[in-house]
């Protein structure tokens, strides 16, 4: 098998999938509504500033939608976590008492206005900067972290035609922008002039760098199979249904499933979520690199973290869960962006669920998981995807062999490595002092 035949096969697979996607595209009014609205608004303006307005509207939309999304994620997280632990969660903050109204409408709205109360609190709090801090970097760190985590949204296809920037190398862009947030964490830790902040920042960096590897490696199979880096094309490659009800999402293939699991774990670690929230383990370290931050700057870091989580979930949806595609053909009348948001919410709820369930890992367990388990498994999974690509043309009886072998490639190493690894995750039996 030479490389050239491989690549030619890849190209035929890609063209076939894009052609299939082009065939089915029901464009209802709801589907087009957001874009039409934007075009209408842009056309109100004079021609020279239209391109600027076009981009500004996009940016503002992303900011508004995901800003609100962030706000409600926090309240949803608190309420869900509470429910997972048999508590009620915040349910007190309601409408402010307006003196102009003759009556007081007393309803707490199930505490839904909590994020706004939190926001007001964060903004009005005192902004403390340590005297010895590197003032400029201390200020820049939260700005950079929010900016870069927002930039990752630019390449996510939110709907059939809604994609802020259509890039050929979108995945590369996503990871490049994501990588820059690590710099901000370092800056935050270093500029605080607090040695615990610095240590925590280095620890956070170690974690982020080790988990960036499985994260990217878990995406490579997708690139291998779809032979493109464009998120739009990847979503299109997942269109269609077998027997009319089995969607062609990558998560429903053995390699895709394994990749999705690796992606989920790495995404959890990459967005500093429990059980990988060592960098800011509130109950152990003070707040890691955020120790010296307060008020709005702290809120910015917090926001960036949720943006990162949302962006990674969006990427996961795009890559493995079929993006904006409907799961069943007759559900296609629901606009694509709603499907995307629905899947996104599912992912985030899953993340919250995991947070409410699992305990925090030790740092040695964390790194061991990445280097001894996820990375080898992800590498194997790449080979698995290559096998999948090679066997695209197999006839029907051999398809079962294909599935079996592909599943075996991930399941057997998973069990074997898991067995070797689970010993190190057992409750420890030694005492600290000899």
């Amino acid at each position: 098998m030479s490389l050239s035949t491989l690549s030619s096969q890849l190209s035929t697979a890609a063209t076939a999938s894009s052609a299939a996607a082009a065939a089915a595209s029901p464009d209802s009014f709801l589907e087009r509504a957001p874009l039409e609205l934007r075009d209408w608004a842009v056309n109100l303006l004079p021609t020279p500033v239209q391109w600027l307005a076009h981009h500004l509207i996009t940016i503002v939309c992303i900011l508004a939608v995901f800003g609100l999304f962030f706000a409600f994620t926090t309240i949803a997280e608190r309420k869900l976590l509470a429910r997972l632990q048999n508590r009620l969660g915040p349910n007190r903050s309601g409408l402010p008492k307006l003196s102009i109204l003759p009556w007081h409408f007393k309803h707490t709205l199930f505490g839904l206005s909590q994020p706004f109360a939190d926001a007001i609190k964060a903004i009005t709090k005192e902004d403390i900067v340590p005297a010895a801090a590197d003032k400029l970097l201390h200020f820049l760190a939260p700005v950079i972290v929010v900016a870069f985590s927002l930039m990752t949204f630019a390449v996510l296809p939110f709907g059939r035609n809604i994609i802020p920037v259509e890039l050929d190398a979108a995945l590369l862009y996503f990871f490049a922008a994501g990588a820059a947030t690590e710099l901000a964490i370092f800056m935050a830790g270093w500029s605080s002039r607090n040695k615990y902040s610095l240590l925590a920042a280095m620890r956070a960096l170690a974690q982020l760098i080790s988990y960036e590897l499985p994260l990217i490696l878990s995406v490579v199979p997708i690139v291998l199979v779809t032979s493109t880096l464009s998120t739009k094309a990847i979503v299109l490659a997942q269109s269609g249904w077998t027997f009319g009800f089995l969607p062609h999402w990558f998560v429903f293939t053995p390699w895709g499933f394994a990749g999705f699991i690796i992606f989920l774990i790495a995404a959890l670690a990459e967005s500093n979520r429990s059980p990988f929230d060592l960098p800011e383990a509130e109950s152990e370290l003070v707040a890691g690199h955020l120790t010296e931050y307060s008020g709005f700057k702290y809120a910015l870091f917090f926001m960036a973290e949720y943006f990162g989580l949302t962006a990674l979930s969006g990427l996961g949806v795009t890559l493995f869960l079929g993006g904006w595609q409907a799961p069943l053909p007759f559900l296609e009348f629901i606009p694509s962006y709603l499907w995307f948001m629905g899947k996104l919410i599912c992912m985030i709820v899953f993340f919250i669920w995991v947070r409410g369930t699992l305990l925090r890992l030790r740092i040695d367990q964390l790194t061991r998981l990445a280097w001894q388990f996820l990375v080898p498994l992800a590498l194997l999974n790449i080979a698995n995807a290559a096998f999948w690509v090679l066997t695209t043309q197999w006839s029907l009886p051999l398809q079962f062999v294909r599935w079996g072998v592909s599943a075996a490639i991930v399941v057997i190493p998973f069990i074997m490595m898991g067995r070797a690894l689970s010993a190190s995750y057992a409750p420890r039996s030694y005492r600290y002092a000899p």
Binding site: L80, Q85, N86, R87, W353, T357, R419, S422, Y425
Partner: protein
């Protein structure tokens, strides 16, 4: 297999999630201002003063301003100023009373030492905890008027302990009465021999001269009646009513 534990855990929390909506028994949250948990009987936080007369709290404080608690208080949050004059106490005996009695609850550490050292059972621990105030120097500094609470309130919050205290006090009073009677009889006998001299009695029989109380010992050895001492050793149940004679009649 690696990961099965994670899935089990996820199932547990999912059960919690679903259960929290249809099974109110699961919920651990108490919605505080509306609902309150019942505090355990031995709960304590800040001291208060006991008065014998429910209608006029200020009238009959048990406190005689001996200032032992003020001296013993580790954070020194008690301030007492003796009165110049005397007033009759619950037993009708003339006593010095605290002109000023203040406790700074922002300093108090709820150690209960003041209660243990008080020879008159005059200061006890309270159960209030909602003492939030907007002013640290006025709102949290409790004066004599705020501190004084009737004995019935004490029975309400610590029934067992209050019953014991009352029992002991009654016994002591009885002993004092008998002693006084004996003294009166002796005096009568003496009067028969000598011309009578009028003497006021009862002061020396107050419970302050019992060292055992400081160490937290029960006062059974002091009570003359063995039946009463047995009753004090076995505390009455929570539902039992406080002794009817809260204010025993002064001696004749």
């Amino acid at each position: 297999m690696l990961g099965s534990g994670i899935i089990n855990g996820l199932i547990v929390t999912a059960k919690n999630f679903v259960g929290s909506y249809h099974d109110p028994k699961r919920m651990v949250t108490v919605e505080y201002p509306e609902q309150k948990t019942v505090l355990p009987e031995n709960y304590r936080n800040f001291p208060f003063l006991i008065t014998e007369n429910a209608t006029d709290p200020m009238g009959t404080l048990r406190c005689v301003a001996c200032q032992i608690c003020e001296k013993e208080c580790p954070p020194q949050c008690i301030i007492i100023e003796k009165s110049k004059d005397k007033k009759p106490d619950a037993n009708g005996k003339m006593q010095i009373y605290p002109a000023i009695f203040g406790i700074d609850t922002s300093v108090c550490m709820s150690c209960q030492i003041c209660v243990e050292v008080c020879p008159f059972d005059a200061i006890k621990m309270d159960k209030v905890f909602e003492i939030a105030a907007t002013n640290r120097f006025e709102g949290l500094f409790l004066t004599r008027e705020q501190l004084a609470k009737p004995n019935s309130y004490y029975h309400e919050i610590h029934p067992v302990e209050a019953a014991e205290v009352d029992e002991r006090l009654t016994a002591e009073r009885k002993a004092a009465e008998e002693k006084a009677k004996a003294a009166a009889a002796a005096k009568a006998a003496a009067a028969a021999a000598k011309p009578a001299v009028p003497v006021t009695v009862a002061g020396g029989s107050l419970p302050g001269d019992r060292p055992g109380q400081m160490l937290g010992l029960q006062s059974a050895n002091n009570s003359a009646d063995p039946g009463l001492s047995r009753a004090s050793a076995t505390p009455p149940g929570p539902g039992s009513a406080p002794p009817a004679t809260k204010t025993p009649t002064p001696e004749a």
